[in-house]
């Protein structure tokens, strides 16, 4: 969450002008009172401070900020967030972690469940794995509304395809339908980073589709701001020949590590498996509890302990 500050250089000079004018106003008022005070012998000169005051005299400043002390600042419009912004520039934008990979027994799909609006966590229980139909799953990253709507729309189109052609649509076809739709809305502000995972006649299928119009076929993907962290765990632990339990544990662990490091990911780690008979929901684990199950609290080693002195 960034607080919008007006350009500090302009602000500083503006404040100086205003403070001079308020100061002169104060002077005038105090001039009047001091003439009276000569008679009453009260001295208010200590109340006249050179720094602009809060409250009344600052009504001239419409934004209500107090003036910063004047020292030279680097030439950026927002100094406090400058370093944070430069990291944000390279980090993947969509605040989430989702991943999917193909292995011997099918496709494993996992995601976190946190929704964030800048620095505010708006929900810890968002369903980011969308069930398009009983044998295809889609993951959500980016705009929640965009992902939910277009996945639902894709589900409708897949069903229509089934009815028209008397056979299920392939994962290739479904992902192409979605990619074409998103391509036609390119540049209009949709934010979708999704993976379509399913099992069709050719076996397991996994496609990455995004709102820039890109569509990639692959065996291992992770999408979202936590994806670099998840990729690290996923790449090092991945083997094609894994059992369903091993793959689920790998997916769960990768999501956990991403939620540990990425502020925009958290909540619960849900893991789904897509097999030849369709998808099944394997587990939903709170990542906080996962942390303590992976890294239990060790009792600290006490080097020196204070005990009661034995009184003779």
């Amino acid at each position: 969450m960034t607080i919008f500050l007006p350009c500090l250089g302009v602000c500083k000079s503006l404040l100086q002008v205003l403070s001079r004018s308020t100061f002169s106003l104060l002077n005038q008022r105090s001039g009047l009172t001091s003439r009276l005070e000569v008679i009453m012998m009260l001295d208010f000169s200590g109340l006249e401070s050179s720094a602009p005051l809060y409250g009344g005299s600052n009504e001239l400043l419409s934004d209500g900020f107090s003036a910063a002390p004047s020292f030279d600042l680097p030439v950026t419009s927002d100094f406090d967030d400058f370093q944070k912004n430069s990291i944000q520039m390279v980090k993947p934008a969509k605040g989430t972690t989702t991943l999917a990979f193909i292995f011997k027994e099918g496709v494993m799909v996992a995601a976190d469940s946190r929704a964030s609006m800048g620095g505010y966590i708006s929900s810890q229980s968002v369903k980011k794995i969308i069930e398009i139909n009983p044998y295809m799953l889609g993951t959500m990253a980016g705009g929640a509304a965009d992902c939910q709507f277009w996945h639902r729309n894709l589900g409708i189109k897949c069903r229509l395809h089934e009815l028209a052609n008397k056979r299920r649509i392939s994962v290739t076809g479904a992902s192409k339908l979605l990619a074409n739709i998103l391509y036609s809305y390119r540049g209009m502000g949709l934010s979708v980073g999704t993976m379509i995972a399913g099992w069709d006649e050719k076996g397991p299928g996994l496609y990455y589709v995004d709102s820039e119009g890109g569509r990639l076929k692959g065996t291992k993907f992770s999408v979202g701001s936590g994806s670099p962290y998840a990729y690290g765990v996923l790449d090092s632990g991945y083997k094609y020949d894994m059992t369903i339990d091993e793959a689920a544990e790998l997916a769960r662990r990768a999501i956990y590590h991403a939620t540990f490091r990425d502020g925009a990911s958290g909540g619960v780690a849900s893991v789904y498996h897509v097999g030849p008979t369709g998808w099944t929901k394997l587990s939903v684990d709170d990542v906080g509890e996962l942390h303590y199950s992976y890294y239990p609290v060790e009792p600290t080693i006490v080097e020196q302990e204070m005990t009661e002195a034995v009184v003779a």
Partner: protein, 198 residues
């Protein structure tokens, strides 16, 4: 960071492209094939924005096939290049395609040819062409070592030299490259140059 380059030899044309699919600092895939086989004797190496590349190249491929079905004969390389340039030019002032293309083809009567097509619909028939950051290294390498009527082995060796130069000098060099060739026997994949298995 995408590199596509190509050259013409004796009776063949070669196109080399990197195979990375990148999103900001993340490499999603390092075995993405960016050289599309347009038809039996044409290769199209494309680099540019992800969605545009896939959509435009598939659009061109289907239209080239349509022409063949309608008219019974395939398009020449020159005609395909001009068709592509026309499509890019028409879209340029409305909804531009951000794709750069190296088109290589073999025609029975004119032999091998290579076309350089820019994203702003520039079209040039050339002997050697390159796009992307890799072009800074590949173009001078090719200018120095290229000569007309090279054999396949000489051309592959020159392509390897370019790839090595890109790998050693480009700060975020792509991991893998694919080499495709087109000659009188058709367009096919020649080989890969990998540093990672994916």
């Amino acid at each position: 960071m995408e590199c596509v380059f190509g050259m013409v030899g004796k009776g063949f044309a070669l196109v080399v492209a990197d195979t990375s699919a990148v999103n900001s600092i993340l490499v999603h895939k390092s075995n993405e094939d960016k050289i599309m086989v347009l038809d039996s004797h044409k290769l199209m190496g494309a680099s540019g924005e992800a969605g545009d590349r896939a959509q435009f190249t598939e659009y061109v491929q289907k239209n080239v096939a349509l022409y063949q079905y309608r008219n019974g004969i395939p398009l020449t390389t020159k005609a395909a290049a001009n068709f592509m340039r026309g499509e890019l030019a028409t879209a340029l002032r409305k909804n531009p395609y951000m794709v750069n293309i190296v088109l290589a083809g073999f025609d029975k009567d004119t032999g091998p040819s290579l076309y350089f097509i820019d994203y702003i619909a520039t079209l040039h028939k050339v002997d050697k062409a390159a796009f992307g950051y890799g072009s800074y290294f590949a173009l001078s390498m090719m200018d120095r070592h290229y000569h007309p009527n090279m054999t396949v082995d000489e051309a592959i060796k020159l392509a390897e030299q370019c790839i090595e130069e890109i790998r050693s000098r480009l700060v975020v060099a792509p991991q893998n490259f694919v080499i495709k060739i087109v000659d009188k026997d058709g367009a096919r994949e020649h080989s890969w140059r990998r540093t990672t298995k994916d």
